[in-house]
Amino acid sequence: MLALTGGAVVAGLASGRPELVVLATPILLFVGVGLVLSSEPRLAAELDLARTRLIEGESVMATVRVRNDGIAAVDIELALVRTRQVILEPEGPVMMRLDSGRSVKLEFQVRPQRWGAHSVGPVLVRARDPLGMMVWDTRLGQVVTLRSFPREQRLRELVAPLRTQPFLGAHVARVRGSGIEFADVRPFTSGDRVRQVNWRATARRGDLYVTERHPEHASDVVLLLDTFAEARDAASGTLDAAVRAAASMARAHLARRDRVALVDFGGALHWLEPAFGTTQLYRIVDALLASDIAFSYAWRAVESIPRQLLPPGALVLAITPLLDERSIRLITDLRTPGRDLTVIEVSPLLHTRPGPTAADAAGYQLWKLHRDALRTRLQALGIGTAVWDEGKADLEGVNSFRRLAGQAGRG
């Protein structure tokens, strides 16, 4: 507009038409007065989140307080910087006039679209003087990290470990010792305690008999999270479901006093050594929040997993979409005598659909058949497989299969 005004004034002077100069005068005065009166705003902003930890699907209120410490009123537009997976309400910039010495409070609804560590802030502020002559862009406030924990499913059943560790737990061990679960009745031998005597059997047989019981032991559980590849649609992906499955299983096993380890194997290898308790649950969930698909050509052999992460007799639960040849190879390599391995398949079928042509449909069917064949191959190796469908995994079927496989192995 200033250039236009300048042009009008020059044209008026050159052509001797004073009306052009008079026409331009209001705009010139407006710009001039606006510039003289404009002063740099002194704004301060604070960003505060009601909570910084929430469960996937929940939302949290973010409060932004902006204060004008300058000498003049300013028109401000402000918006929150945030990571892509965060939805804001209101999403776009918000405009308001802020008089000198006044402050204003704005509330944004923040909702992470998926689990993970998200950042919200700082506040982007664009300030204008009241006539809009000068514009100042700045960032105020701090970055707040918002941790959205994966939604956990209640599991009706867990994969029962074939072997247990000699720690107090909730799994009925195969060995006999002191416990609650009845195992057998046998004749009294020296060293048996009097409290073990089964008086009913003793009275019937006329000789001392004792009751044997199965002790309740804990087990070591290793959660292997496959992050080589994932199938993803607009809403979600197999990694999301895998993380939820891992979190749910970790919680359930830790509640049964098992030692749980986490190995995130994919383009990058991350792990947490086995440990008990609530602290370990927080560690695992925190580690899961950082899980992501890291593209890589690297092969991961069993040897690349630290030995202490796979203790003898541990139950290994491989949570995988069975999409990458490297993870399938690793799983089959893990199947060694004495290792208790089960595959929890996070099905990519929910996130894929055949293309429009008949050839696409045929290819899709072939791919499904190939997956069925792969599952059969794993079962032939004695590896139980269950499809994870948002908490409704057929773990009962896996346990039956594992019992049968165990009997066949012993036979």
Partner: protein, 179 residues
């Protein structure tokens, strides 16, 4: 509406040039509509420029009308600018737009008064001469120089205030770059 009203004010008194005036008004209105539709600031500035030139086609009372006409053009351009800025906002606090428009109208009125003073000075001035033209040129040049100086000083003050803001861009900030 304001655009059209200003155009009608000129075209009805343009005499033999009324056809040209109507074309100019139609072009200006079309440009303004395009500007509002596409969000182009160039289009509305051109529209205001065309409407300003159309004033020259009026036969009588051009100098008398010029202050009001110029003030109306200023209001028009401010309204168009505000509408551009507002369209990408999601939420506007109550009273913000009204406060802004009132400020604009207040300063536009001040500008119209100033233009009226200039118009009176022109009407009462002696016949055109080299000295008077030189004086006018010097006054205009001084006014422009003052405006440019103030603008530069404000800009340098602004850039010195927050050097850390430079080079910090991300896709989340695209709303800042859209104007």
């Amino acid at each position: 509406m304001l655009d059209l009203a200003l155009g009608v004010l000129v075209a009805t008194d343009a005499g033999s040039a009324s056809g040209l005036a109507w074309y100019g008004v139609a072009f200006s209105v079309a440009l303004l509509a395009v500007s509002l539709g596409l969000g182009s600031s160039t289009a509305f500035q051109t529209s205001v420029g065309v409407l300003g030139l159309v004033l020259l086609l009026r036969r009588d009372d051009r100098l008398v009308l010029a202050p009001i006409y110029g003030a109306a053009l200023l209001v028009l351009s401010e309204l168009a600018r505000t509408s551009h800025e507002v369209r990408r906002l999601e939420l506007i606090a109550r009273g913000s737009i009204r406060a802004r428009l009132l400020t604009t109208l207040l300063f536009t009125g001040l500008g119209a008064c100033g233009a009226g003073v200039v118009a009176i000075a022109v009407a009462r001035a002696p016949m055109r001469s080299v000295a008077v033209s030189a004086l006018g040129t010097a006054a205009v040049a001084t006014a422009f120089a003052a405006i440019v100086l103030i603008a530069r000083r404000s800009q340098s003050r602004d850039s010195g205030a927050d050097p850390s803001a430079e080079g910090q861009t991300s896709e989340d900030e695209t709303w800042l770059d859209s104007t």
